[in-house]
């Protein structure tokens, strides 16, 4: 057997392996979208295994309006947006402070943030929930603050290491031109760390968007539920309505899939950032 044929056979073998795993990843989602376009009667006969020829938006309408998913969706967008903005501002300020400015106890405060990333706190949501309960903050505000805290340490760490690698010349120039520290942070610091900011944004947006435990504890009222909790509640109520559940899942998954296809690099960096730290 020549080297060429051997190589060809190996690559056929590898591709079969890879494609079958890839298919197992894609198929459930194709099926999900396919079912969401069917009526319940169609689903009962073909289990969603035949490609629907007609596109039927009824399930989406029901889910969005009667299932209140328009509200869950907007809630999720709201929590994600506010939390990410808060984290970006607070963590970049802190990272700039840790990297460039000097004050007593700086090292120790930074180490506390680092320790928070290292020590697993599996039931951390319990005392925070009790605390919010005591403060009378079982509401959106409390949720957003708790979520902001969850993303802070990693974001500060990422931005601080990025700041550390940057030359200080531009900031010196800005200082000579009469900028104060806050202006330097805003006008020079933030634009310079924008590649790291993108990772911070994606990482935190995904964390908040996908977060379930806290939201399920805090929000018992339909009005304030984010998507994940809404999905859970909806699927419990509609156990047998497969087409409706699939439409709901598609609504929840689609924005993330689209964003992911658009910005894979940042997603991969954002989601593996935690690993790199450890």
């Amino acid at each position: 057997m020549s080297y060429q044929t051997k190589k060809f056979i190996v690559s056929i073998f590898l591709h079969t392996f890879l494609l079958s795993v890839a298919l197992s990843c894609i198929f459930p989602f194709l099926w999900m979208v396919n079912v969401s376009f069917k009526t319940q009667e169609q689903f009962d006969t073909d289990y969603g295994l035949e490609v629907s020829r007609t596109i039927n938006w009824e399930s989406y309408k029901t889910v969005l309006i009667e299932g209140q998913f328009w509200r869950f969706f907007l809630n999720s967008v709201f929590y994600t947006f506010i939390t990410v903005v808060a984290i970006v501002i607070i963590s970049s300020l802190a990272a700039y402070g840790f990297s460039r400015l000097d004050f007593p106890g700086k090292k120790y405060i930074f180490y506390t943030f680092l320790a928070a990333m290292m020590i697993p706190l599996p039931a951390g949501f319990v005392p925070v929930y009790v605390l919010l309960n005591k403060l009378g903050m079982i509401n959106r505000g409390g949720y957003i603050l708790a979520m902001t805290n969850m993303g802070l340490s990693l974001s500060i760490y990422l931005l601080k290491t990025f700041f550390d690698q940057l030359p200080r010349d531009l900031e010196d120039a800005a200082r000579i031109d009469g900028c104060n520290k806050l202006q330097i942070w805003w006008n020079v610091g933030l634009p310079l760390v924008s590649p790291a900011l993108a990772v911070v944004i994606i990482f935190n947006a995904l964390t908040v968007w996908n977060e379930f435990v806290f939201a399920a504890l805090i929000f018992t009222d339909d009005k304030f539920m984010p998507l994940q909790v809404g999905l859970m509640q909806f699927s419990e109520r509609m156990v047998t309505q497969h087409t409706l559940i699939m439409a709901a899942l598609t609504i929840a998954a689609f924005p993330i899939i689209l964003l992911y296809l658009k910005m894979q690099k940042q997603f991969v960096k954002g989601l593996t950032a935690g690993a790199v730290v450890g």
Partner: protein, 305 residues
């Protein structure tokens, strides 16, 4: 550098202050508060009562024999799922990474597809797989229907039924998680310089030799990292299993699910005691792995991270 005055230092500290404030209230304070709560009985309404070690006794020794309690049952389930993730998930991820590293075509496609699952939320994955696997009455459910259609009706099974639900849950967990390990393995593989392999080839090394003498030792840091993170991550999963089976009457209950259910029913003290026990276990495991990985690194002579 100009000497900064006290006021300057105060201004400097104010940059860190917002982060420090939130962090103190929502991390440092809860960190200590969880220990205090674990010694109390507190239903979030009446005032907390100090009960000593009663919560811990209830968590650890409430069964007869003592290992037959809800808590130890959930720990066993968690350990089983973790074991599956450590073996099956990570072997699959490693095999896929090796394969993708070798193929030329469709390289990018595979990466995009494999990393899709870690991006999506646990609730979505759980509910979707529930719809695919649900087998009530037996024979319904899409996977079973596929088996029927292709003439393998012998394979139909009530996947989420009593005898297989834990194993299926573990498989779904692996399926969701392998993409993440795959990406890290692949990054590790690609960071190995090509020259090493060339040098080995010139010296007459076989493919197997260069794999076991170059690839494996140089991947050791990545491997230990993945092992630690898989263990910590899997012992703390909850939402996917909650969505997939809802605990299946104890069959797939995991530690964090117990904690969640207890705080949901306002048993804050018990939930915290469970949290403390699980936290200590995880810290112990990660310390152990830290020393093991240090030894391994020394053995393979890989000094840097």
């Amino acid at each position: 550098m100009i000497q900064e005055t006290f006021k300057d230092k105060l201004v400097n500290f104010s940059f860190v202050f917002p982060a420090f404030l939130i962090f103190s209230i929502f991390y440092i304070y809860p960190f200590f508060y969880i220990f205090i709560l674990s010694f109390q009985e507190y239903d979030l309404i009446s005032s907390p009562v100090f009960v000593g070690l009663q919560n811990f006794r209830e968590v650890l020794f409430s069964g007869t024999p003592w290992w037959d309690s809800m808590w130890w049952n959930s720990v066993r389930n968690g350990v089983f799922i973790t074991f599956c993730a450590l073996t099956f998930q990570n072997f699959l991820a490693f095999a896929l990474a090796l394969a993708v590293d070798r193929v030329v075509r469709l390289n990018r496609f595979y990466r995009v597809v494999f990393f899709l699952l870690p991006v999506l939320s646990e609730v979505i994955i759980g509910l979707l797989m529930k719809q695919l696997l649900a087998g009530e009455p037996i024979g319904r459910g899409v996977l079973n229907q596929i088996f029927n259609n292709i003439g393998l009706s012998g394979f139909t099974h009530n996947w989420l039924g009593t005898n297989s639900v834990l194993f299926v849950t573990a498989l779904v967990h692996c399926w969701k998680g392998f993409g993440w390990a795959f990406i890290i393995f692949l990054a590790g593989l690609q960071s190995i310089p090509e020259q090493l392999y060339e040098a080995a080839r010139i010296d007459g090394a076989s493919a197997y030799q260069s794999f076991s003498k170059i690839t494996i030792p140089l991947l050791m840091p990545v491997l230990t990292l993945i092992i630690v993170l898989t263990m910590l991550g899997t012992m703390q999963t909850f939402a996917m299993i909650f969505a997939l089976t809802g605990g299946a009457g104890g069959l797939t209950e995991v530690p964090v699910m117990l904690i969640f259910n207890h705080i949901k029913s306002n048993q804050a003290g018990l939930a915290c005691a469970e949290g403390v026990v699980l936290g200590i276990m995880l810290v112990f495991v990660s310390f152990l792995m830290f020393f093991v990985s240090k030894k391994i690194r020394e053995k393979y002579g890989v000094l840097s991270n």
